[in-house]
Amino acid sequence: MLDGRSQIKRKLPPRLILSAGWLILLGAAAMLAPWIAPKDPLAQDLFLGQLPPAWVQGHEPGYLLGTDSLGRDVLSRILYGTRLALTVALLAGSITCIIGATLGLLAGFLRGWVDIMISRAIDIWMAFPPVLFSILLIAVLGPGLTSIIIAIVVIDWTRFARVIRAEAMTQGAMDYVASAQVAGRTRLSTMFTEILPNVLPTITVLLTLEMGIAIIVEAILSFVNLSISTDDPTWGGMIAEGRTSIHQAWWVLVFPLITLFLTVLSFSQLGEGLKDRFDPVLR
Amino acid sequence: MSYLTIRNLSANLKGRPDRILRNVSLQVAAGEVRGLVGESGAGKSMIGKAILGTLPLSIEITGGEIILDGTDLLKLPPAQRRTRIGQFCALIPQDPLTALNPSRRIGPQITNRLVDILRWTRADAEKRARELLAEVHIPDPERVMRSYPHELSGGMRQRILIASAFAAEPKLIVADEPTTALDVTVQKQILKLIAEMQARHGTALLFVTHDLGVVSKVCQSLSVLYGGLVLEDSRMTDFFHAPKHPYSRALLAATPKYTDPDGSLTPVPDAVVAATRAEVEAADRSAHV
């Protein structure tokens, strides 16, 4: 039997629609890049260098967003760059989340020596300057997709661990935890069935935020030439190249930047939107 | 001659049809103590907040008048309204643990208002603060003024908040459930203190509470609220002798009395609740015609 109250369907928040829409579009672009990209992203043609986008005087048909100084199609390169960006976002984001949130949950709920060890590790970790740390890591591990993901996970797990630990501590003090104990639930089971659902909204928000951050980190590493290889198109690499020709060909810099911006924004809004829509506790 | 007159005050949840206050009218004479009684959600605290201009942002006043000392507060521009409220009104809050700033000493928390808003000299303000702390029976006021809130007990803090409320000789004090967070033995002392201070200073007091026992100890008149509607407006002795509204009668019957071994657990009958709810809805309909 349902009553009227639980039948009120919450509307999809606009930011959820917009952000999810953009991310779905990107996902489709990444998967279909070989079929929808108008040109080969690596094909150079020095006669067609620095062509402006299609609505600017002097453009060539077929190059919608123009070309860079080597005559490569900007749109095609953005589309192919999406593949790396999203792979990094999803893999690095989820792995960071799983490791960080688990440690945070254990520290915040079990307390005691577990908490002491994890908290000290977090403190020490956070004393390292993150950008230098990641550059150092890549230098040691060598460039490549795996290295980027490892670098992001190693640096950012503390973000999850800190926040989730604090949240788990708050939730752990609630009487529903005591009540689970009175009912005879074990500590570990309590952590998963009672605490986890209550920190899940926070985890969701952090996870999507982390995906956006992963994209930025990847772009920064590409920018300093420490990402995968210089040939494969990446947004960060394009931005780095575009910077050198900003006065002659602004579009080489601007379009990847806009894509990056919209994607990171969409990830953060996706998290908030999901929370608004699916958290059973109405605010 | 009433000092505070509220006429047809209505308030809504912003942008929604949910009504918080429904044409509330009441008067508090100079030096009178009026109780605002009701269960949670009755709107009793909202009236106090409307007077002091501290309503939550989600609630808006949709009509009516709050006439304080002859001036309708709701017609004043916001800046003037705040000054007026600051000069003439004060609040005794519910929770003494959160009402004092934990990172500041007690002294400045009492004197700041006098110095910053009422332009007293610091020396005068501190002298006044010491006098007031003595007046609320705090031993060693000097030491307390230099203390931080966490060094003092809940009862002590509530005394300080009372002293602070009376500091600028306000004409009206809103006491919002001032003893709900306290132990009964401390509650008794605080209630006696509030009554004593009120009588000495001749301040009008609006006493918000859910406890009819407390009302019978401090109030001279009371308004019973349900769903933002005033159901009954009585002199205190008349009310306890014979409540006018069926809901008031039920509420009084439901209030536990330890002196009465058997009949003290009478819930408010569903029929009374239904009838009262119907009355609230009827009031809405007649207001719309």
Binding site: D3, Y176, R185, N198 | K192, S216, M236, T266, P267
Partner: protein, 271 residues
């Protein structure tokens, strides 16, 4: 019925409990111990409704939590139905947990906000391997006078009184021998207060429960409880049958407590 006929469900001897006082913890080293319970001895016979009364800091909630072993005492002993549970580890405690349950003060915090009511009531049942937890949960809702449709709701969709009924339903669903009710009506409006108390009274009678009812308010206890324990600063200052306590309070603290209750009657004048 005198105590010699009724076997004791609980026997508490010289119970002590201290906690680390973190506010006074020195920079290096252990925090000093704060003694909350200072050697309490009493019994709860089967079928009794015991009121535990005291102000804040009296240790009444700590005592309650020790009775259901949410806290481990630091001295003395607690025997439940003849078995010493004072320091029993959680695994050995598990089969006994079904037999003593607790209803919490704040039903908002004691009901997991992200679980549905049905799941909240059914969870302890499945933990103890009882058959048909869903069905039993619905029956528990019947017992506390709530419609079965509430099973699919979330706690925040209910009123305070309804939430507290869910707390009661969860406790009685296990068919325990003993229930600890910790200030269960202090957050409720008087109208729902009376309803919840009446419900509890009926259930205790119908199910043959033994109940300990913690409250700061003597006035809600009078009708419900058969015996009252008055606690002050971690010590028992009075332990008396309800009528005797109200007719002739022995401890001066009990008298202060009674005097301080504001009766809804203008004729009561405070000295």
């Amino acid at each position: 019925m005198s105590e010699s006929y009724a076997p004791n469900l609980y026997q508490i001897d010289n119970l002590r409990l201290s906690l680390a006082d973190m506010t006074k913890k020195p920079l290096v080293g252990a925090a000093p111990r704060l003694e909350i319970l200072k050697g309490l001895s009493f019994t709860i016979p089967k079928g009794e409704i015991l009121g535990i009364v005291g102000g804040s800091g009296s240790g009444k909630s700590t005592l309650g939590r020790a009775l259901v072993r949410l806290l481990e005492p630091s001295g003395g002993s607690i025997k439940f139905d003849g078995k010493d549970i004072t320091h029993l580890p959680e695994t050995d405690l598990h089969p006994l947990r079904r037999r003593f349950q607790m209803i919490f003060q704040d039903p908002m915090s004691s009901l997991n906000p992200r679980h549905r009511v049905g799941a909240i009531i059914a969870a302890p049942l499945s933990l103890h391997g009882l058959s048909n937890p869903r069905q039993r949960a619905l029956e528990a809702l019947d017992h506390v006078g709530l419609p079965r449709g509430f099973a699919t709701r979330y706690p925040h969709e209910l009123s305070g009184g309804q939430r507290q009924r869910i707390g009661i339903a969860r406790a009685i669903a296990l068919k325990p021998d003993f229930i600890l009710a910790d200030e269960i009506v202090s957050g409720l409006d008087v109208s729902s207060q009376a309803q919840v108390l009446n419900l509890l009274e009926t259930l205790v009678k119908d199910l043959g429960l033994t109940l300990a009812f913690i409250s700061h308010d003597l006035s809600v206890i009078r009708r419900l409880c058969t015996r009252i324990l008055v606690l002050h600063r971690g010590e028992i200052v009075e332990n008396a049958a309800t009528p005797a306590l109200f007719a002739n309070p022995q401890a001066s603290y009990t008298r202060d407590l009674l005097d301080a209750i504001p009766l809804p009657d203008p004729k009561q004048v405070w000295a």
